[in-house]
Amino acid sequence: MLLGNVNRHLNILDYALGSLWRNRFKNCGVLLVFSLVIFIIASFRLVTSSLDNSAEQVLSSVPDITVQKMTAGRQDVVQRIDIAEIAGIFGISEIKPRIWGYYFDELNGANYTVIGDAAFDAREQLPGLAIDYRGTYGERAGVSPVVVGQSIITSKNLVVRNSFSLFRPDLSLKSFYLSGVFAETTSLVTSDLIVMGIEDAADLFGLADGELTDIIVSVANPTEIDTVARKISERIVGSRVITKQQIRKTYRAAFGWRSGFGLACLLGSIAAFIIFAWDKASGLSEEQRREVAILKAVGWQTTDVMSVRFWESVVISILAYVLGYLMASAHVLVFDGLLLKPVLLGWSVLNPPLSLLPVFHLSDLLLIFSISVLPYLAATIMPAWRSALVRPDSIV
């Protein structure tokens, strides 16, 4: 009984495949467009899952607490004396002053992130951080050492030279020599960085003595971070205290379907689906009506004709699904999201080497299946039923 049923459906499937082959140009077009829709949705999901995962892994060691100051709704400088205000809070294991900011390079329109590190030493710079040190070649009075990311090398053309200058706010020049370069494998966090001593950063940004951009606080017991953060915000008036938990929460939610691009992908897929549904529901061609009439005249039942139409839809949608997902996987894994990269980087002048490693979740597969294949199958039910109702004597 079961075997007979399977055989019957196999025969119907063979007939449906033959029917699809007879209209191969139209059906290949539908398959192609449907695959592209799934490709776009799946690519978006794989790229964002890759970024989510990278952020989660890489940012697991972010500072416990970052203290900034706000004035008139904007970030302002923190005073070094504020460190003394919070130094007595029980539970704090380390407090580090820091100066960091953005440097807009007018020569090429690029934005760099400048980090002034309090423990940066010209002789023994940042050991153990995958930095290719260039030695102290270029060291002379008034020229400060820096360690830079890979994008800076390209942007400032530091392949053939090892010194460069940046403008202070008063347009005087401050000179630097390249003492090290971050490894390309760490570009996800270092691409646009220029790391220097904290005094050099203060000098570059024209900050007064004792002014910092933020204070980094380490807490001995992770369960006390929120309590220590609350105490800090009480002691430094107008402070904004950002905890490790908040930073990780930001990245967990950052790349989502609610983003503009995510919505664009969804809306695009819905629009394409409406076109499919419209195409399927817009009535039968004369040739299809004749085919159904002949089938019924030779003894096919209405359910058999509906089965043929159902199998046609299943074949197209499943093939489009696996093909679209395969293309999206290759796009993200092999080509590192080449088509989405321009959107991701926007107007950025620096072009970091982006290596994407997506996370394959069963839930994503099911989500894409449910917003693509299921609606398509649902949309073909009515036309299938209508086509199965054609009377043999109406045509033949």
């Binding site: 890489v58 904007r74 646009d192 790349f255 983003s259 093939l319």
Partner: protein
Amino acid sequence: MRASTWLLVLIILIVGSQLALYRVHSRKYLARQDAERQMNRIVGRLGLSDISLATDARYVRHLSVSDSVAPVMDHPGAVEHFPSSSFVVPVR
């Protein structure tokens, strides 16, 4: 050969290619482990807060330490216009 057998062969080929891509994934994953450890050390040592993707707008470069109103705070009536920010959900 029956048409359904051809279909089965085609689906097996596609799924086989997908499995081959999973192998690429696992190789890439292994190669990435070392880099992730290094990046973790850099983030901890320098106190970095964000990954470096888009550098066009400061609030996209540093998502977690920016104000949620930063995109529209440059002047009264300012509107957000950086394309890279369309990839991220506003930080709350």
